[in-house]
């Protein structure tokens, strides 16, 4: 058996042609080779050139991470693969929409905490709020954890979008 190396979490950005089946190729590669996907965010980022940007958060040993990047880069419609985690300082954000149902003290408390976390109220009824929060994964996790005892009933998250700091583009 190979020597066990520590599992690392990496954020990988992939630029690929926005064509039918490209998402299936990327997801199929991860499924077929047994790699993890912790989150995956996709959208077209250049309509003129028909390019999409995929941000994949994955985990594995350094050798597996290297394989993931090589395998992604080998896909024919993929233009570039960059490892944000290794590539120097970068920022990661995700957006979550959280539905909290309750009345009385719990309802007031959730609103107070939303303020602390700089979450926005984007929908409300007399018995519920929908909060929008944007931040690093840890911050979103923390907010979700804190809302759970306060009536959190539904979570929708986008997964991570990431970009390198500084003036140089990918």
């Amino acid at each position: 058996m190979p020597v066990q190396h520590p599992v690392e979490r990496h954020t990988i950005a992939v630029i690929a042609d926005n064509e039918p089946g490209v998402l299936a190729r990327i997801v199929g590669l991860f499924a077929g080779r047994g790699y993890n996907i912790e989150s995956l965010t996709v959208a077209e980022t250049d309509a003129d050139k028909h390019l999409s940007r995929f941000t994949v958060v994955t985990s594995g040993t350094p050798m597996v991470i290297e394989q993931i990047k090589s395998q992604l880069d080998r896909l024919v419609p993929v233009h570039s693969v960059s490892d944000m985690t290794l590539g120097g300082p970068h920022v990661e954000r995700e957006l979550a929409l959280l539905k909290v149902v309750g009345t009385g003290e719990k309802r007031v408390e959730s609103l107070r905490l939303a303020d602390v976390f700089r979450a926005k109220v984007i929908d409300s009824t007399t018995e519920s709020f929908v909060f929008e929060i944007t931040g690093a994964t840890d911050k979103v996790d923390a907010f979700i954890g804190i809302l759970r005892p306060l009536g959190l009933v539904e979570v929708s998250r986008t997964g991570v979008a990431a970009i390198a700091r500084g003036k140089t583009p990918m």
Binding site: M1, P2, V3, A16, D17, P20, G21, A24, R25, G28, G32, M63, E66, Q67, S70, Q71, D73, R74, L75, V76, P77, V78, H79
Partner: protein, 598 residues
């Protein structure tokens, strides 16, 4: 020039039907043969084929045979193999061959019919999600919904199939697109916007590699199928390096022929059924240079015991092959021929003084391992040993232009061990996928490309039945293919593993009710020969070679013979089991971890 080719001149302006665009693109790409089987969705292409003479269509008897035939054609010529099948079952039958071509890096273009665009997704008759099904078993695939994109896709597909690490590409063609009129574009007008793999190595890495090599005391060269795929020039350069350096060289199953077997530096194939000397040398070396090989599990044995004390150099065109199974010290991404040219130039520039004393001592150890005579077998007077049959086949055919294909199993390993290949592209075998039924259709493709050569499918009786219908094809096209069956009435390799791992319980590995292969050959219109005695073997082989007709030779061999030497699964290179006739000791029983490995 064909009528199809002429029709498109003066090129781009004239509108052509989708089917005509496809054939024109194939002709412009230098295609001679299409292996295929018609059906409703591809009838327009077949109609266009009928009306031209530039391309020759070979009608197989099952679509799986078409892909293997194209693989045989591709591997023996270095060109692209082209396949044409219909939608639904036509495409699904091609899947095994596509997977085989992906695993062994063979350039294939497979055109699949599809139901008309407006019916896609409707569960129409003979509809299958071909691009969905073939996504993981092709290098790339396309669904062409717009005839204006068809010429571009055709040329792009050839670029993708042949550049970088070669592989199969599927083009799925809805029937309405075949009828629609559109413009043609010449190959040179198409450039791929994202896929342009690098061929030139990083020279700093090459220098690092030479640093390691010139200081090696126990070097080994470990070459693979990437050398063959890179072209004959790559084989010449690697052979040149072997001779210039005086280093020992071993080749993988896929690499056989890259360095001439007669060269004294060649230690034979390595891996699970490779030679003792090759595996021991891999285990004990101090510098290894892997050239176009991928550290497959059949080659490495137990990974944490694989060549534990060596520094490793790895040349490969596919970055994902590097550091996949084994971490290497000097990775070099590049084409084998281009990289070896650079490496040889650097080597000559330095004019190195090697540690001749250490290398001579290394060769002495290797000669001792060689002395174990690991492929030895004892041929008695009565029963034909399968190894003897391969040995005689080799001796009698070696002076002719001979191409060998195989099925999968014991016979394949015996052929790899005992047939000696002096040139690349002479050996076609299903290495990565291990596809039984590969050899007969592959031989068909080889024979078409080399009509005057002797093409022999070294077969087992079980494997060859998997695509036996292709006998009908070889008769139709008067291909004098020889099927040389080592008939032991067992799925030999399955039985061998049952002996090794499952207490001799021969679960379903005995082939009851086998056909009479002589009568079977005759029923198809081939010649059938049988051989049961060692003394008759040469005569039967000579008859097979002389008759100029498709022939099955049914050689009744020792039913209980096993293939040695062997690295049991989960064992290391230096834990090889040697056969009873070699000067060896019995191996260790297979470990529990080894049991679960394939």
């Amino acid at each position: 020039m064909s009528s199809v080719a002429d029709a498109a001149r003066p090129a781009s302006q004239a509108e052509m039907s989708g089917s005509e665009i496809i054939l024109k693109a194939l002709v412009d790409q230098g295609v001679e043969y299409i292996f295929g089987y018609p059906g409703g969705a591809v009838l327009p292409i077949y109609d266009a084929i009928f009306q031209q003479n530039a391309l020759r269509h070979i009608l197989v008897r099952q679509e799986g045979g078409a892909v293997h035939a194209a693989e045989g054609y591709a591997r023996s010529t270095g060109k692209v193999g082209v396949v044409l099948v219909t939608s639904g079952p036509g495409a699904t039958n091609a899947v095994t061959g596509l997977t085989d071509a992906l695993m062994d890096s063979i350039p294939i273009i497979c055109l699949t019919g599809q139901v008309p665009t407006h019916l896609i997704g409707n569960d129409a008759f003979q509809e299958a999600d071909t691009t969905g099904i073939t996504r993981p078993c092709t290098k790339h695939n396309y669904l062409v919904k717009d005839v204006t994109q068809l010429a571009r896709v055709m040329h792009e597909a050839f670029h993708v199939a042949t550049s970088g690490r070669p592989g199969p590409v599927v083009i799925d063609l809805p029937k309405d697109v075949l009828f629609a009129k559109g413009p043609y574009r010449a190959p040179e007008t198409v450039r791929h916007r994202s896929y342009n793999p690098r061929r030139e190595p990083d020279m700093a890495r090459v220098a690092e590699a030479v640093d390691l090599l010139v200081n090696a005391k126990r070097p080994i060269i470990y070459g693979g199928g990437g050398i063959i795929n890179s072209g004959p020039e790559a084989s010449r350069l690697v052979t040149d390096f072997v001779r210039r350096s005086g280093f020992p060289c071993t080749l993988t199953l896929m690499g056989l022929g890259a360095v001439p077997a007669a060269d004294p530096h060649f230690l034979g194939m390595l891996g699970m059924h490779g030679s003792y000397e090759a595996n021991m040398a891999m285990h004990d070396c101090d510098v290894m240079i892997a050239i176009g090989s991928r550290f497959d599990d059949r080659v490495t044995g137990r990974l944490n015991a694989f060549s534990p004390n060596s520094r490793k150099i790895h040349i490969d065109i596919d970055p994902s092959s590097i550091n996949k199974n084994v971490r290497v010290d000097v990775p070099i991404i590049g084409d084998v021929a281009v990289t070896m040219r650079a490496l040889l130039a650097e080597w000559q520039r330095r004019d190195p003084t090697l540690d001749r004393k250490a290398i001579a001592a290394w060769w002495e150890r290797i000669e001792q391992w060689r002395g174990r005579n690991c492929f030895a077998f004892a041929q008695g007077p009565d029963i034909i040993k399968p190894q003897y049959a391969v040995e005689r086949l080799y001796q009698l055919t070696k002076d002719r232009e001979t191409y060998i294909t195989t099925e999968v199993g014991q016979h394949q390993m015996w052929a790899a061990q005992l047939y000696r290949f002096e040139k690349p592209n002479r050996w076609m075998t299903s290495g990565g996928l291990g596809t039984m039924g590969y050899g007969l259709p592959a031989a068909m493709g080889v024979q078409l490309a080399h009509p005057d050569a002797l093409v022999v499918d070294v077969a087992g009786e079980a494997s060859t039945l998997m695509n036996i219908q292709e006998l009908s094809t070889i008769v139709q096209y008067r291909l004098p293919v020889k099927v040389f069956i080592l008939n032991n009435r067992y799925m030999g390799m399955v039985r061998q593993w049952q002996e090794l791992l499952h207490g001799n319980r021969y679960s379903e590995s005995y082939m009851d009710a086998l056909p009479d292969f002589v009568k079977l050959a005759e029923a198809f219109g081939c010649v059938g020969l049988r051989c049961t005695k060692p003394g008759d073997l040469d005569g039967v082989i000579r008859e097979m070679m002389a008759n100029g007709r498709p022939t099955i030779v049914d050689v009744a061999v020792d039913e209980k013979e096993n293939c040695f030497p062997m690295i049991p699964s989960g064992a290391a290179h230096n834990e090889m089991i040697l056969g009873p006739s070699s000067d060896g000791k019995p191996g260790k029983p297979v470990s529990e971890e080894g049991m679960v490995l394939v």
